[in-house]
Symmetry: C2
Subunit: 167 residues, 2 copies
């Protein structure tokens, strides 16, 4: 959904920023543009490394921080001990907003867009209400469901996953 728009938007935003257009930055953006996974810094590093071995992990961290700053990347903590990153779509591109379904056994992450419309509508109302009530300026929200994915259900590990919850 709008991979090109996404690319255009984020590249433009990067070019228009105060920051220098370096090879590592372009390479990292490219990796993010060509995946729909939620990659960790290490994973991004490895992918960049494969055709740009001069890259350093530190640079990946710093670049991701920068991308989050200028708003082209979103950072998630799903509770498995490492941060994960995905491209933001920006306010211009509608329809690719999604939430997450996370398997507490294998850490698989599923994006879903089903039922999103109702969720977003409710969230907007809630946001307004909370802003007024708590004098809070809300910039973002997260919704995620935790449970067992199809595969792990079948394996039917007797692990107790109740009570596990991560924001």
């Amino acid at each position: 959904m709008g991979a090109d728009k996404k690319a255009q938007w984020s590249r433009k935003r990067l070019e228009e920023s105060e920051y220098r257009l370096t090879k590592p930055r372009r390479a990292i953006l490219d990796v993010l543009l060509h995946t729909d996974e939620h990659l960790s810094a290490e994973e991004i590093y490895q992918r960049v490394y494969s055709d740009y071995p001069a890259i350093g992990l530190t640079t990946v961290y710093r670049t991701l921080e920068l991308f989050v700053q200028i708003g082209i990347v979103l950072r998630f903590d799903f509770g498995d001990g490492r941060a994960r990153f995905e491209l933001s779509v920006g306010p211009e591109v509608q329809g690719s907003h999604h939430h997450h379904l996370i398997c507490t056994n294998c850490n698989k992450i599923i994006d879903y867009t089903d039922f999103i419309e109702d969720e977003i509508e409710l969230l907007k109302k809630t946001e307004k209400g909370l802003e007024a009530l708590h004098n809070f300026k809300i910039n973002n929200h997260i919704i995620a469901f935790y449970g067992l994915c199809e595969d792990c259900r079948n394996e039917n590990k007797e692990k107790n996953n109740e009570g596990m919850r991560d924001v």
Copy 2:
């Protein structure tokens, strides 16, 4: 809101578990019962330490993991690099379910119960739909809003917090 019920429920659940009722475990549960904050392992350790200096940080970690297992504690990752814990209410006690409002500047966490009813209703429907669609067994969910709290709004740091989102 049912602090006693909470205490009863979690103590009972601990006693009925296979696990031994040790002094550290009781002490840690007590700390959790007497706060409404979202404490980190380290913070819990410090509070236990003040009247039970024999406690070790390792035990706190292991005990919290255990409590999560038996379902009396919930674990959250708000994206500030440390896990936070709060007592679960258990399915028996209704009305104390809440979601979170998180300040991306000072990391303050506000529990809110406002608008919760509508949220829960929608979440239930969504859960059902997602379970059917993705063959997923959902055990839990999270909702959190990120933004600037009243105090940090006023200080009006020019830090750009857009695009910051966790989980």
